[in-house]
Structures are given as C-alpha cells and as structure tokens.
C-alpha cells in the first residue's frame, strides 16, 4: 500500500465560520493505519470531546487538524479555519520570555501588550505580566498557555489533554475557567482527553475513537453546571465506558 504524503492530501484553511470538515482522512505510521478513512463534520461553536484509549489515534487526529503532521504518511481532505490555536499538554512557555511576552509571541494587532494583559487578567493572573514561567505553578503555567491561545481569537481551539498533567483540584478549576472563556469567545473546541468525566463535564458533543475509526458520536444537550449524579450523565458515562471497553465491575 502506498499513500501520498500530506502535501498531496491538502490542508485547506478557509472553512467558513469555524467549522471543521474531514473527508476520508487516513494517517499511518510505518504502514500501520492509526486513522482509517475518518469522515467528520463539526459545526462552528461545537465543543467536541475526543475520547479513546491510549494509541487510538486521538492525538494523531488533533495533530492532523493542527497541521503538525507533515512527516506522517496519509491522505484525505481536511478543512479547518485559519484562525486556530493549539493548547498542548505541557504549557510550552518559553522559559526565557516573561509571561506577557509569551502570551503576545508573534501576535499582530494594534496593541498586542494591552490585548495580552487583558487575556492574562481573563485567566485570573493579572499582575503576573513580568514573572518568568519558571516562577509559576503548573496550573498557572497552563492558564498562561490558555491566555496565549485565546488572545489570538481562534475560531478553532485544539486542545491535546491540556489538563492531563494537573492535580485533580486544579483540573476542576481549569474546567470552570475553560468553560467560562469558551462561553464568552465561542470558538469551536476539540478537546482530546482520556478522562470520561472531563468529557462529560465540558463537551456539547462526544466522539470516541477506536481502531482508527469513530466508534461513537453523540450530543450532550445538558445545561451547565452539570452535576455528576445527574441520571442522564450517569447513563452517558456508562455508555462511554462500555464503548471504551471498561466495565465498572472490574
């Protein structure tokens, strides 16, 4: 099987109003198909949680959407907005730049510094502009990374397990913060996570990847704040755990 490189498959970047379209997208590592002809449409403003076991291809899919997989064999068509930001699992702050300079790195516009200060305040870190990243806690670093993503007013926010390295309490605070900011700025969000509860707490739509294909895809029409003992959530949770091959009695 020979597959053309990604440059043939194209990464068109003019989708209207933040929607995401994938048509028969395939990605393979040394011939092993991690993504197998995935077709998908995500409407503008959806908050999609992308679940899957380790190695199910969720990060591969996210990196394909972010345009970070030039080296990977693959084909298919991907349409994503030009204005997109990526939130990584690690904050990826430059240790030699101040917090404010990290946020405004490469930022155009009339007053990047002012926009950066506002973004920093919106993640609750006003006054820390001149701190070094090394002086912040892990949760604070991730909040700066969130500010760096959102100050660019993305139509699409791609997040690859952004809270995976944080402790449970900090993670809950980050969930509330992310939900508030997304509610205000209304980007389309694709959040890769291995945490079923995180997906159920945040998403308006849940996608499950398995064996390179979409194993489950459903909408969560529940208002916020959601309570984990809501019977509908309990039902969704059960459904996801079964799709992911986890039985609770085990």
């Amino acid at each position: 099987m020979t597959m053309p490189s990604v440059s043939d498959s194209g990464l068109a970047t003019d989708a209207a109003e933040g929607s995401v379209v994938l048509e028969r997208v395939t990605r393979a590592f040394q011939g092993r198909r991690v993504l197998n002809e995935i077709s998908l449409h995500i409407a503008a403003g959806e908050f999609v949680a992308l679940l899957g076991m380790s190695g199910s291809g969720k990060s591969t899919l996210l990196r394909a959407l972010a345009g970070l997989d030039e080296e990977v064999e693959g084909e298919g068509l991907i349409r994503v907005p030009t204005a997109r930001s990526v939130l990584f699992q690690d904050s990826r702050l430059l240790p030699w730049e101040s917090v404010l300079d990290n946020i405004t790195l490469g930022l155009d516009g009339p007053d990047p510094a002012q926009a950066g200060r506002q973004a920093l305040a919106s993640v609750g870190l006003a006054g820390r502009e001149s701190a070094w990243p090394g002086q912040l806690s892990g949760g604070e670093q991730q909040r700066v990374a969130l500010a760096r993503s959102l100050v660019r007013r993305p139509q699409l926010l791609l997040a690859d397990e952004p809270f995976g390295a944080l402790d449970a309490l900090t993670r809950l605070k980050m969930h509330a913060l992310l939900r508030a900011l997304v509610g205000r700025l209304r980007p389309t969000v694709i959040l890769v996570t291995h945490d079923v509860d995180e997906a159920l707490a945040l998403a308006s739509r849940v996608l499950v990847l398995g064996n390179g294909r979409i194993a489950d895809d459903f909408r969560l029409d529940l208002d916020h704040p959601r309570h984990s003992d809501d019977p509908r959530l309990v039902g969704y949770r059960q459904r996801l755990l079964i799709t992911l091959g986890v039985t609770e009695s085990a």
Binding site: G67, L68, L94, P95, W96, G106, W132, R152
Partner: protein
C-alpha cells in the same frame, strides 16, 4: 579481665542516648559534604603557595629553577610601578581581544548558518570538525607563509583557536532546540525571523556561554608561542626573554598575569551569563 569489663560497660552507656535523640531537624547520617565557603575553596592554593615559599626560603628550591612567590611579587610590583609591564600587557591584550572578537563573531555566524540551513550543515559542519582535530599551533608554519609574521597572522591564529569551542557549543545548542518549541512556533504562525530571534537565539545562549567561557581563557594561551615570532612586546615575549636570561621571577610574573586574566575573563563572562540567563534557577551557582 577487669579492664575488658569496664570497656564493655563504657560501650553500653555511650550507646543509650541514641534511642531518644532530640533535634529540630531529625535526620540520618550526612551522605554528601556540606557546601564550601568561598574562603574554603582557597585552601589548596594557599597550602601550595606556603610550601613553595618555604622550599624557596630554606634553599630546597633553587631560584634558577623557580623563583620564590615573594620574589615574583616584588618583581611584578616593580615592573608595574616603573611602567615596563603595561606596554607588554597592552600588546598581548590587543592581540587576544581582537582574536577573541573575530573568532567569536565567526563562530556564531557559522554556527547559525550550519544549525539553521541544510546547505550550511552540509558545507560547514564537517569542515569545522576537521579543523577541530588540528592543533592551532600546528598551523603556524602555513599561517606565516600566507599571512606573514606580523600581527595579522597572530590574530588569525588566536581567532582560529577561539572559534572552535564557541562554534561547537553554539551549534550543539541550536541543533538541540526543543522540538516542542518548534511546534509551538508553527502553531503560532511565527515567521522565520521571529522564530530565530525569540526561540533559536535565546535557546542557544546557554551553549554559547559555555563555549565563550572556554574561549576567553584560551585566547591568551596561544600568545606564549605566538609572541616568540617577530615581536618585542607582549607577555609571551617577556617570558621567553626571561628564560634566555634565567629570570624565573619574571616567568612567574607572566604566569600569574595569565592566571589573573583567565580568572577575571571567566568571572566577567559568568556575570554576563547570570544576568542574561536570570530566568534560570540553576542549582549550585
């Protein structure tokens, strides 16, 4: 028999307090030595100096082989006071710093070219590795044929020896740029110029400083040999002439000057390094 009994008894009493040890910082045996004070660091050199002076004073060490530290100190002070030392020092410093400046500038430019472009890597890096294997002083005969016996040749050779550590360390640091930062730059849509200025250069700075610290001390080292060639000024010239006249105290003065220059240059670079890289909370410095 009775003596043995008393020893045994002594052992028992001495071991009883171990059961209840009251301390604000309970802890076990210290496994690593405590950190030295700056003065403690000087113990070795001071002991050596004392032994050296003692050997010279008692006649164990002939002044024909090595002058006493006190003699060298007096000689050095006299040369400084009567103005004979300064022109030699200035001549050496002029050569060393020109060589350092040219060598470091060339090293940084070539390290950037070979670290950031494929054509640069292909054409530059192997050549530098070959140059690295050839001792700088082995190039003196060729350098004399090409550049003559004047200052140009001396500065070129110093630049050549300074070039290697700066290039090697800067190049390694550029090649070692965190791939995650490269990905970040791509997702932020940074242009090549901004990427180099905000990510590559700051990321390569620690490596550059490592190379620079090696270079600022080594730029003086070649002078001893180079200042034998067609010159009447310089610390190296002074030391070689002193050898002809058997003036070991002047040789010691020359060595001390090199030492002071080396330590001072190193301290200066470290101070610049500390203020430039102040974002790093490095343990032990």
């Amino acid at each position: 028999m009775s003596a043995e009994g008393s020893t045994l008894g002594g052992r028992i009493t001495s071991s009883t307090p171990r059961t209840a040890q009251a301390s604000s910082r309970p802890g076990g045996t210290r496994l690593v030595p405590r950190r030295l004070t700056p003065l403690g660091r000087l113990l070795g050199p001071l002991v050596l100096l004392a032994l050296w002076e003692l050997a010279a004073q008692t006649g164990l060490l002939s002044p024909k082989l090595l002058a006493a530290p006190s003699t060298a100190l007096i000689t050095g002070y006299d040369m400084l006071a009567n103005g004979t030392l300064l022109p030699h020092w200035l001549a050496s410093a002029w050569r060393a710093w020109w060589g350092l400046g040219i060598g470091v500038a060339a090293a940084v430019l070539l390290a950037l070219a070979s670290g950031l472009t494929r054509i640069g890597e292909a054409s530059i890096d192997s050549l530098v590795q070959i140059k690295r294997a050839i001792p700088t002083l082995a190039l003196i005969p060729l350098a004399i044929l090409w550049l003559g016996i004047g200052e140009t040749m001396k500065i070129a050779l110093i630049a050549g020896s300074v070039f290697v550590p700066v290039y090697i360390n800067t190049h390694a640091a550029i090649k070692g740029i965190d791939i995650r930062h490269v990905e970040l730059a791509r997702t932020l849509g940074l242009g090549k110029a901004v990427f180099i200025r905000r990510i590559v250069l700051p990321g390569a700075l620690p490596g550059f400083f490592t190379g620079l610290r090696l270079s600022v001390t080594s730029c003086w080292a070649s002078l001893v040999v180079l200042e034998q060639i067609n010159t009447t000024q310089g610390i190296g010239y002074l030391m070689n002439r002193a050898r002809d006249y058997g003036q070991t105290e002047i040789i010691v003065v020359g060595l001390v000057i090199y030492m002071v220059l080396g330590l001072a240059s190193d301290a200066a670079v470290r101070a610049i390094e500390r203020s430039t890289l102040r974002y790093r909370k490095v343990i032990g410095s």
